[in-house]
Subunit: 209 residues, 2 copies
């Protein structure tokens, strides 16, 4: 098999830019995250950066998409390690909530907040957000081993994602991890009451996977 | 009783500035909300504005405090109209969630997000946020007629506030009201299972008020 080092290099450059964009947004905020600042942090020339991403908006939306998709791939690949039985719900909720406290959430928060006061940016972000919401919901249902066609389960998983978003927002200014752990435990117990335990056994005909 | 028209005028000017600050933050975002823009929207001279609020930070934090306190006063004064019995929980949760979808929440979101990338602003906002969190929790417990000393109730009310914050964030970019109404109904049913119904009757010795 022939390697294509130039393509590999190009892909690596692109990925460095996307990761630097998320870090800049999370640390420096929306206004300070310019293409120049990102290029410098990534160690990529201005010219190469503009070759990959002609505009700041393209860079930022590509960064959110790339990081979200990588995160979902990771969640799916790790789910094999989760316990089965009652401990699974708490483990899934805890991991889901953690996704809303890292730099991806902080970066996304900067973009959402800017989009709230900028109709053009909002038009770019809304379809992205809708896709993220659908995928996050589907992955959460899979992880829980729940029946997504049950309307009560559907709504409770949505509420879990809403809760996770709210907990993430509470964590933006202060370290809220102790309180969060207790909320997660209580919430998981509530969620557990609506998930059919028969579905939670591995590899049965009733599995939702 | 002697009226003091000059003091009244001063108070009215102050309030107009605070309300204009919230509107500007919610509509125009953090960067665009300058003292000049707020003064113009409020119809107050630059000099009078600076007399009331020497810095932009003072204006913005005073606006958040004033609006939050007014909101809590309103919630308390309206609670007499809420039904008793099982419908109360849903009514309280619905009203609580609505508080996170108006211009006060949108304005606060702009400030939190800016503070996330600005240590000086963060130092001003964190104590404010802690007070808001405590008061909002206490008022929610009162409204629900629940026993705040019960640790399960305490956590479930916290989760309700976290959920409300997450639902508010979901509503920033798109109108999420239909989905939200369903989540509120489902969550209120969950919350109802942990509230002792005996406490929900008006004017009994077991009342938490």
């Amino acid at each position: 098999m022939r390697r294509e080092p130039k393509q590999d290099r190009s892909r690596a450059t692109r990925q460095r830019l996307l990761e630097a964009t998320i870090d800049c947004l999370a640390e420096l905020g929306w206004s300070a995250t310019t293409v120049g600042v990102v290029a410098e942090r990534a160690g990529v020339s201005r010219g190469a950066t503009q070759h990959h991403f002609p505009t700041r908006e393209e860079l930022i939306t590509a960064a959110l998409e790339f990081m979200f998709d990588s995160r979902m791939d990771m969640v799916r690949s790790e789910s094999i390690d989760l316990p089965f039985g009652p401990a699974r719900t708490e483990a899934v909720v805890a991991r889901l909530v953690e996704q809303y406290t890292g730099s991806l959430f902080r970066a996304a928060l900067q973009v959402w907040t800017a989009a709230a006061a900028d109709p053009e940016l909002r038009a770019r972000i809304v379809p992205l957000e809708e896709r993220f919401g659908r995928v996050a919901h589907r992955v959460a249902v899979e992880e829980l081993g729940a029946d997504g066609s049950d309307p009560v389960v559907h709504r409770m998983v949505q509420a879990t994602l809403d809760l996770a978003r709210g907990l993430g927002l509470a964590d933006v200014l202060t370290d809220d991890s102790r309180r969060r752990a207790e909320i997660v435990r209580h919430w998981a117990a509530q969620l557990d009451t609506v998930i059919d335990p028969a579905r939670r056994r591995p590899a049965t005909e009733g599995s939702a996977r």
